[in-house]
């Protein structure tokens, strides 16, 4: 089953952005706080994600915090939530060709 097929079956969503001042990839965490690690990202039901995203966009613009804010699919892999697409997996970790760079290097 492909990542996208998996994502359609009861998947959740996370909300992400790039931090304005330095471009760092961030995720919306609990209580509306932006966090740098995907492990700390809040997960939302598909039905509620649109409303949360709209609020997050408005707040981030108001506070000049983040840009390019959007929601992405998260799937369950062996009990661990992971981004459904390769693109978001790379954003949450770093380049697959430089394991010494990005969040994976921390």
């Amino acid at each position: 089953m492909s990542a996208k097929d998996r994502s359609k079956e009861g998947s959740m969503k996370a909300i992400t952005a790039n931090r304005l001042r330095d471009g760092e990839v961030v995720f919306l965490g609990k209580d509306g706080v932006w966090v740098e690690s995907f492990a700390e990202a809040a997960l939302f039901q598909r039905s509620e994600a649109d409303a949360v995203l709209a609020d997050a966009k408005a707040k981030a613009e108001r506070e000049q915090f983040g840009v390019d804010i959007y929601a992405f699919e998260v799937v369950d892999e062996d009990g661990v939530p992971v981004p459904a697409t390769m693109r978001e997996r790379i954003r949450t970790a770093g380049p697959t060709v430089r394991l010494d760079l990005g969040k994976q290097a921390a």
């Binding site: 990839v25 790379i90 060709v97 760079l101």
Partner: protein
């Protein structure tokens, strides 16, 4: 500003006070624009076009800034500054691009004014590396040194830089606009895949002039540039280009980004009608205001005066001894070194494609080393090639062995220029926000598979080019073997094309069959190579020639036999 500009180096354009003041003003403007964005005075919607006009993109992991290397030529001082910036503001490396520029992938918005300020100290900037303007004009990386050169493309590329920067009519074009100039018999600048491709020539009187090819380009709709005028005299060079850009500005589509490039306009209007429009505009423009004064040309040419080459015998005993004693060096010499127009000198290509490495990436330490070697062996200047390598253009044959040993010790001595290991790959999904699939891992796997230098020499000239999306930054359409990464329901697949050709006999490659997985792709490339080797008439028949002779069938049969 603490100006430490390159000084009197041969072959490098020296800024005058107007250039310097203009760049400094742009840096200060951008500094204020960044401050206004960070304070919330500017929204992202307002700020985005401004940052793009200063070469600043937002990519997957961070901001990316693309630095202009005008026509791919820079000084050792400038390269050292790029290394310094890479250490100070990025992660210790940079990526050389197919537009002969350099980009950093881990930039902070708040640092960019300081970066641009530091660049301005060495007469560099990030202008015209993004947005719907005339982008960095590219030319032959062997310019000023090649034995087959007829006209020095740097002179006219620099004239275009001055003509197009801040030109009000060229600042909001329907889409980006790329120009390449080649002044040699061999096309090393891929001119016919550009919006405007210029072949500089000389007539019977020895006067310089240009053939204008228009409407080439890759991306979603690849086209080979069409000959619009066989001969444009030097004095009409600027006027004719302006006429083309005016016609494009007037008729180019702004309603659909996928149909906005000039190639679509040329295609939809038809060559005859397009040419007629250009000629009419040219007739209106022609006159004193647009005449390119020979004195101006001569003034620019002075900047590119030949370096103080010594009178040397063409034969180098030291070189012959080194060649005989070190087979790895002898191989590099055969593959990466080209003939110089002056006896006793040679042109050396520094490969940024080690087996299993990332095409076009160089660490800051490597940049410093190449800068040192450029100082020591090539009059302090170097070039970036559109295939993502570097070139030292004026090396004494006597010194080639010393040069290679130092390069090789730093991982820069690969002997693969023009061979299967010399792969172009865009940053792909590992970095790029537009990509659908990764390009770099496939390039690494292929170059590792074909790492053996003897095997590479046996295969001969064969360009592999990989793009991570249909925008084709990796030039896959003109790869003898091209690879396009696609996303199929969340999984990366790779579509293989064959028969592309970036030289004057330009061809767009044909799709060989259904896309394959990443693992299958490396085996498929090897199978294509095996079929070529089995079918070629001899070592002199290049891959592209065998393909043209035997057609696609044997290749398809081998790859897709099991389907």
């Amino acid at each position: 500003m603490n100006h430490i500009a390159p000084g009197a180096r041969a072959g490098i354009y020296h800024y005058d006070e107007i250039d310097r003041q203009f760049v400094a003003e742009r840096v200060e403007q951008f500094r204020k624009q960044v401050e206004r964005r960070l304070s919330g005075e500017l929204t992202e919607e307002e700020f985005k076009p401004v940052r793009l006009m200063n070469g600043l993109y937002l990519q997957l992991h961070a901001y990316m800034v693309r630095i202009a290397v005008p026509y791919g030529v820079m000084s050792a001082t400038q390269l050292r500054k790029l290394a310094e910036i890479g250490r100070k503001y990025d992660r210790g490396y940079g990526h050389f691009t197919t537009r002969q520029n350099l980009q950093y992938n881990w930039i902070k918005l708040e640092d960019t004014p300081a970066i641009l300020h530091e660049l301005a100290e060495v007469d560099m900037h990030a202008l015209q590396t993004s947005g719907n303007c005339v982008r960095n004009v590219t030319t032959d990386p062997f310019v000023g040194a090649a034995k087959d050169e007829v006209v020095d493309g740097r002179v006219y590329a620099e004239i275009l830089r001055q003509w197009t920067t801040m030109h009000p009519e060229f600042t909001y074009l329907p889409r980006k606009f790329k120009i390449a100039i080649s002044g040699a018999e061999s096309d090393r600048a891929a001119v016919r895949i550009h919006d405007v491709g210029l072949l500089a020539r000389r007539n019977d009187k020895g006067e310089a002039g240009f053939s204008f090819y228009v409407g080439g380009g890759l991306g979603r709709s690849p086209f080979v540039g069409k000959l619009v005028r066989e001969w444009v005299a030097e004095e009409d060079f600027v006027a004719y280009l302006e006429a083309i850009l005016r016609v494009y500005n007037q008729y180019g589509r702004r309603d659909n980004i996928y149909k906005a490039r000039i190639k679509i306009l040329v295609h939809e209007l038809g060559l005859e009608k397009f040419t007629q429009e250009v000629e009419e505009e040219f007739a209106r423009l022609r006159g004193p205001k647009y005449r390119l004064d020979p004195e101006i040309v001569e003034g620019v040419r002075q900047h590119f005066a030949p370096p103080p080459l010594e009178e040397l015998p063409d034969h180098s005993e030291a070189l012959e001894r080194a060649k005989a004693s070190d087979p790895a060096f002898a191989n590099w010499l055969e593959v990466n070194v080209a003939e110089h127009k002056a006896p006793g000198y040679a042109i050396a290509t520094v490969s940024l494609k080690p087996a299993g490495g990332i095409p076009g990436d160089a660490t800051c330490d490597q940049m410093d080393l190449v800068a040192d070697l450029a100082e020591r062996h090539s009059f302090g200047e170097l070039r970036v090639t559109h295939v993502q390598n570097l070139v030292l253009a004026h090396v004494k044959k006597d010194e080639l062995y010393d040069l290679w040993k130092r390069l090789d010790a730093a991982g820069l001595g690969s002997a693969n220029a023009g061979l299967i290991g010399d792969i172009i790959a865009c940053p792909g999904l590992d970095y790029c926000a537009l990509a659908n699939a990764r390009a770099i891992p496939l390039a690494q796997a292929i170059s590792a598979r074909f790492a053996d230098p003897v095997r590479q020499r046996t295969i001969g000239e064969l360009g592999i080019k990989i793009s991570g999306c249909i925008n084709a930054c990796g030039h896959h359409h003109v790869g003898a073997i091209g690879i396009l990464g696609v996303d199929k329901k969340g999984t990366e697949y790779y579509q293989i094309t064959v028969g592309g050709d970036p030289t004057l006999t330009t061809e767009i490659g044909d799709i060989l069959g259904p896309a394959v997985t990443e693992t299958e792709a490396v085996d498929a490339i090897e199978a294509i190579v095996d079929v070529y080797l089995a079918n070629r008439t001899g070592e002199g028949e290049r891959f592209i020639d065998t393909l043209r002779r035997v057609g696609h069938a044997p290749f398809k049969e081998r790859i897709y036999a099991a389907d």
